[in-house]
Amino acid sequence: MDLKEKLVSSFLAFENRVDVETPIHDVRSEAIKTFEAKGFPTKKDEDWKYTSLKSVLKSDFSVFPKQENAIEYTDVKKYFIHDIDSYKIIFIDGKYSSHLSQTTHDGIDVCLMSAALTKPKYRLVIENYFNKIATKDSLSSLNTAFSQEGAYIHIPKNKLVEKPIQILHFSTGNEAALMLQPRNLVVVDENAHVQIIERHQSLTDNPVLTNSVTEIFANKRAIVDYYKIQNDNKNASLIDNTFINQKRESHVSVHTFSFGGQLTRNNLNFYQNGERIDSTMKGITIIGEKQHVDHNTLVHHIEPNCESHQDYKGIFGDNATGVFNGKVVVEKEAQKTNAFQANNNILLSDKASINTKPQLEIFADDVKCSHGCTIGQLDESAMFYMRSRGIPQKEAKALLMYAFSNNVLSSVKIPELKQRITKIIATKLGVNIGFDL
């Protein structure tokens, strides 16, 4: 039985465990039908031309983990940004771990999707926001069908959240192969401000496939900073679908740091429903071995006077493959749009490859839209300069690569997170330097 059949048939089992008398369940039933009709995307789909899920889907994934697993904080401390105070929403094999988490209902809601979907006090928010911007493509639909657990964050008007929120998903490897489908909802009301860090971490080499959907609603003048750390084990795959709906004058930035995993696919979609919106999406990808990272971005400029900035840097070694597929759509009404898109790549090995497709679709005339895309090598003369001053080759190379990706790091607003990313980069590049030159 292939994974698709397995998922469709296990939906019946899923129905036995949840309340089927709610409007949410109608959404789920609709979604499973969509998934059944569409199936998993293949290379024949234009959006998946360069990324094949075939090798990922062949494991015999268990869809529901059998038992609850516990892990000790000391074992996983290193995966947290632990040197700062933060709210934490922790999941172990898809199940909420109250023992590791630190949630709150004090003025803001930082809690669980399962609670939000069932408790009446969240009903209004769920009705207004749940599954409102997630697209009806097959993978998002699949997630919607099984949506039950994940993070639920609601920041009311004029609230500045002092501490960042960390969302961590651990998989223990107690199952031979595990499929996870977390569903997150983030609603940030007028003038509110929140910072969120998300990470998926597998603790063993057993295959894990995560198909995650996050919906973010940034209302008037809200500020949202979202950071995704992807540095997983070699048998862990992640399909991350993020949908962001912005209202006027809101600022949303998403930083994606992809340093590992078997296959990582980031579908990042921004919809600008208002004027004077600012959207930023940045990413650093440093991978080797046979890893595959695919960034698929969409910015939909619907109203006038908005901006979007995209900056993705990629360094690919060994047999790694990188894909960048960025799309900027500017509607006829979206005059005075300023959209910028950059994708710079370095190939380190003969077997590494990069496929990039930065697209512009523009229907308005008074706009400033540009994109740039490069594929190249490290600057020989810069290398020589450093070597001639006694910096060893490896370190010199690492310094250059760090400098190459620094543009993205410079806009990270949490200093501890920046330090952590810097450390990961140093490890990735096999050097032991701090880069604080």
Partner: protein
């Protein structure tokens, strides 16, 4: 005097009829409509082709029957009915002419209206013209001069008879019969086209040129061009097109194959001004063309195109950089107005070491048109030190048109250096204001700015074409103030 406004311009543009919309009444010999194996055989027989050619066509026809029309392009149109087209039409006065005076005077008058009278061309430019009206070559000039150098420049049907060994060796090597739907169709039913062979080490002394015209009502035009530049040779080839005004959609599915052997250089320039349909988007030519060149070691192929016509354009002149140190270039201006749709670009396939490619594409959209750039830069794992530079700029005039960019970049070699940049903008009000201030009216100012925008590409055209192209740009864009 009241200000010359955007609306005035738009109005003027609307009423501007297609200048070259006339129809030559030459008695044509036209095949019944429809396509089947017999028609393919009949075309081949009519052209007195050898058996191998007939077989080649039939093979293509077989493949074509199995294929479906491609739908991936960013264009929308009513699919042509391939059984409602006549696949062969030839001007009746078929015998060859020794001198230009013998050519049907009505035909000559047609060319005169186009401003390219043979006489004038002969005298002025030193251009050898292989004039194609409805698929059969009716006049070939300067053949002698070329003959002395050993250059073969003739219609492809003549070449099949006179130089079968060359045609047989090269036809379909760059664009195979089963390459795509339209290439297969063309391979099966091509009626005529040009053939050019430049021998080893010869530098072709003049620009070779062909004028294609779709003339007969309801006849598709399926041109086949084959240009072979032997080792160390050089040729510059021009292709220009204008078509009479017709209401039903006309189909043009040409195939152009260029082969540049070691150290050879081919420069292929096109000015395309087919009937784009009227202001309501009715009528116009469908232009589905497959153009591709193959570069051997140290060879260079340069495509330059100015696309102003056709209702739907679907065209990707490509270079296969097979040999080491070979160079591919693509310079393009695509202008769309009213309801025109263009999906055009190039493919640069880097296979050899130290290969270089440059892509400069300028898209200008006005009215309700859609203009897309679609390009592929592919660096194969063996292509060490490949270099590519791409630049795609779009200019939008009015907010009812669209400009789209779909660049595909695939690098599989770490030494590759690829740069791609694209911008979209409109004509700045300050630029217009600057011109107005200095007494240049808005319309002229736009022409000036568009000219500047397209300069990089226009400069690459041979002199004879550059003037015409500049004029065309002005005509196509008049009144489209941004």
């Amino acid at each position: 005097m009241s200000k010359y406004t955007e609306d005035d311009l738009r109005e003027e543009l609307k009423t501007k009829e297609y200048e070259y919309g006339f129809y030559t009444d030459i008695e044509s010999e036209t095949f019944p409509i429809g396509l089947n194996e017999d028609i393919v055989r009949a075309i081949s027989k009519k052209k007195e082709e050898p058996q191998w050619m007939t077989d080649w066509r039939l093979e293509a026809f077989k493949v074509w029957k199995e294929m479906t029309e491609p739908e991936w392009a960013n264009v929308r149109y009513k699919k042509p009915d391939f059984q409602a087209i006549s696949y062969y039409s030839a001007p009746n006065s078929k015998p060859k002419y020794d001198s230009i005076d013998e050519v049907d005077p009505e035909l000559l008058a047609t060319f005169e209206k186009l401003g390219i009278s043979l006489d004038e061309q002969k005298k002025l430019a030193g251009v050898a013209m292989d004039v194609v009206v409805d698929s059969v070559s009716v006049a070939t000039t300067f053949k002698k001069t070329l003959g002395e150098k050993g250059i073969i420049f003739m219609s492809i049907s003549e070449a099949i008879k006179e130089h079968p060994e060359l045609v047989k060796k090269y036809i379909g090597t760059v664009v195979p019969q089963k390459d795509n739907f339209y290439a297969a169709l063309n391979s099966a039913v091509f009626s005529d086209g040009s053939f050019c062979y430049i021998p080893k080490g010869v530098r072709c002394p003049m620009e070779l040129s062909t004028y294609f015209r779709i003339n007969q009502a309801g006849t598709g035009q399926f041109e086949r061009t084959l240009v072979i530049a032997d080792e160390g040779s050089y040729v510059s080839y021009l292709e220009g097109c204008t078509a009479p005004s017709r209401d039903e959609n006309q189909l043009h599915a040409a195939v152009v194959e260029l082969i540049a052997l070691d150290d050879a250089e081919i420069k292929y320039s096109t000015v395309q001004n087919w009937y784009p349909g009227n202001a309501e988007g009715k009528g116009g030519v469908y232009n589905f063309v497959t153009k591709r060149g193959l570069c051997e070691t140290n060879a260079k192929i340069s495509w330059t195109q100015v696309e102003t016509g056709s209702a739907v354009t679907w065209k990707y002149p490509s270079c296969i950089l097979k040999g080491n140190n070979s160079v591919g270039e693509f310079y393009s201006i695509a202008v769309t107005n009213n309801y025109q749709q263009a999906d055009t670009g190039t493919k640069m396939i880097h296979l050899g070491k130290n290969t270089k490619s440059t892509i400069i594409s300028k898209g200008i959209s006005a009215g309700k048109s859609q203009n897309s750039y679609r390009g592929l830069v592919q660096i194969s794992p063996r292509a060490e030190n490949a270099r590519n530079f791409s630049q795609c700029d779009s200019l939008l005039m009015g907010n009812e048109c669209g400009a789209h960019t779909f660049p595909y970049i695939e690098a599989k070699n770490k030494t590759a250096q690829i740069e791609h940049e694209a911008t979209t903008s409109k004509i700045g009000e300050d630029q217009i204001f600057y011109c107005n201030q200095r007494g240049i009216d808005t319309e002229k100012a736009i022409a000036l700015i568009v000219n500047g925008f397209s300069k990089e590409v226009l400069n690459k055209l041979p002199m004879e074409f550059a003037v015409e192209a500049q004029k065309l740009l002005e005509i196509s864009l008049e009144g489209s103030v941004g």
